[in-house]
Amino acid sequence: MTTLNPSSPMVWSDGSTDRSHRSWLVRSAIAIAIFLVLIAAFAPLLAWHQPIVCRYQGALYFPAVSDTANRIPIVGGWIQKAKPFRFPSFDARTELDAFAVWPPVPFGPMELIADANLSASTTHWLGTDDRGRDILSRMIHGAAISVQVGVYAMLLAGFVGVLVGTIAGFYGGAADWMGCRLIEMMMCFPAFFLILAVMVWIGNGVSGVILVIGLTQWTGIARLVRAEFLSSRELDFVDAARSYGAKGWYIALRHLLPGAIGPTLVAMMFGMADAILLEAGLSWLGLGVGSESPTWGGMLRDAFDQIRTHPGLMIAPCAAIFVCVLCCHILGEQLRRSLDPRQSFGGNRS
């Protein structure tokens, strides 16, 4: 414990906020994570079958920009794309002749644009796959799907987990019994086969994958939150809060939940790695987002079919999945270390 010195400014004396002590590993993981999220958010501006800005019949259009805006959750759905570009039959490449600025990779992820299995060249930086689609474009849009699945599935799992854990841990008694049985029931099922069965039933689609992964992977988080509540609701400050007239749910939200948020964030970070792997596994089996959609798992499946003739096709999706999952683990580990109170005083100089 440090005593407050009235004459000196108050400073955090723990290393967690001191950026200079983070290792190069953690720094590169943070950089890669930011890079992946940016790619995911702006995928159509990086690789798309329509230009970013173009002039068509005398008017200016921004088809790739409006497609990017369309991906914003909730509000994106209201944005309408300009007319000729909205139709799938409209081919921007042949119709446009005047001014047009194309994304760096001017090919859509599902566009059959060139011959099959071209090797890397200046036009197709990573070559093309067995059906003549640009691999780099598919990688970029695959990153978008992986990040979406990872982030949204974990937000969902985090929400359900915190809710169940809070109710079980704070109210105890019958609520705790019910919560624990629910958690144990969910944990008894082998998650992957449960997800497989549900995916067969509800069909392909990103939201389906997010929903299914999110609603099966919350158990660990719920157990963490419950344990955190059980241990901290016995502490003196909870009695103190009661003695000031605070109500039960108020204590749970205001005093106990903040203490449980740290472990939850760590669990969500590790869970994100699992979610991305699960999605890749599902896509490999052709049950995930959809066989046409560009996913890293699906690309790996396509590449695996030609492993004898074109083994190089495996490299990009394999590396991407590996780096992404590793990144989540490194970040989760660093988060765990900097949120651990026992290590906060000079303990995390890694």
């Binding site: 414990m1 003196d236 103190a240 003695s243 000031y244 007239g245 005093h255």
Partner: protein, 281 residues
């Protein structure tokens, strides 16, 4: 002082507490009353039921405690006298903090470790008085000033782990004062402190309570602490209230044996202290 003196602020009659897993009752037919602005010290050996008495006044006992008796609370005249044993939990939540507040022994532990000190005090102000955010914050600063802490603006931004025990206990008093209560129950507020800090904290308590006209129920095992702060002493011995007399009548031969024991212990301590002080000169 808010009401006429002749009406007691709180009147405890035949209070008995028994834990279901325990054999003997923890409290046996305890009766006493307190006037507005009065300070009473509840003295007794460890395990005689002092803290149980405090927690039962707040109705914060664990679920397996069986309580009998009545606690009639008159408050500052804002409401009809009520029996705290009979009211529902909702009413009790409104009483806690606003009319009866508590200061705990574990001063650092009774602060939320993940909340800044100023926010915790402001929160109590908001819960008990319904003040808005900025008013509550200003009042929190004033309260920190009132309990004698230096540079209140900066201290409001401190985290509980940055405080020393004495500072945390002053914050604890500020938290208790935040609801503007008519009774503060202090459960061994200075037991974990060294003698120097102890006397400072006691002085702060006396000053703050006198200034606000708050009645103080001080729970302690040390009769010296009681002498410093209280004008009346209640002695608990194995769950029963055996003595209730003004603080200056502790010498009288009619004192209960338990009282005599506590007074003798305090005397022995001060004698030893004089001996040491004599050697030092």
């Amino acid at each position: 002082m808010k009401t006429a003196i002749e009406q007691p602020l709180i009147e405890v009659t035949d209070l008995s507490v028994r834990y279901k897993r325990g054999q003997a009752p923890v409290l046996r037919d305890v009766s006493f009353s307190m006037n507005c602005g009065e300070s009473i010290a509840l003295v007794g050996d460890s395990g005689c039921g002092k803290s149980t008495l405090a927690m039962s006044l707040m109705r914060l006992l664990p679920a397996d405690a069986a309580v009998r008796g009545s606690i009639v609370f008159r408050g500052d005249g804002e409401f009809e006298p009520m029996d705290l044993m009979g009211v529902d939990e909702r009413t009790m939540q409104a009483v806690r903090g606003k009319h009866i507040a508590m200061v705990f022994q574990n001063s650092v532990g009774s602060l939320d470790p993940v909340m800044r000190v100023g926010n915790q005090i402001a929160e109590v102000v908001r819960v008990t008085q319904g003040a808005d955010r900025s008013t509550a914050h200003k009042m929190a600063i004033k309260l920190i000033e009132r309990v004698g802490l230096p540079s209140p603006q900066r201290l409001a931004q401190a985290w509980p782990h940055e405080l020393s025990g004495g500072m945390a206990q002053r914050v604890g008093l500020a938290l208790a004062l935040a609801g503007n209560p008519s009774l503060i129950i202090a459960d061994e507020p200075t037991s974990a402190m060294d003698a120097n800090v102890q006397s400072q904290i006691l002085e702060v308590f006396r000053h703050a309570c006198r200034q606000a006209g708050v009645a103080l129920l001080l729970i302690t095992h040390d009769i010296c602490v009681a002498q410093a702060l209280a004008n009346r002493v209640c002695v608990l011995d194995r769950g029963s209230l055996v003595d209730n007399r003004p603080i200056d009548k502790l010498d009288s031969p009619s004192c209960h044996a338990a009282t005599k024991r506590l007074v003798d212990a305090a005397r022995l301590k001060s004698k030893a202290f004089t001996a040491i002080a004599g050697k030092m000169v």
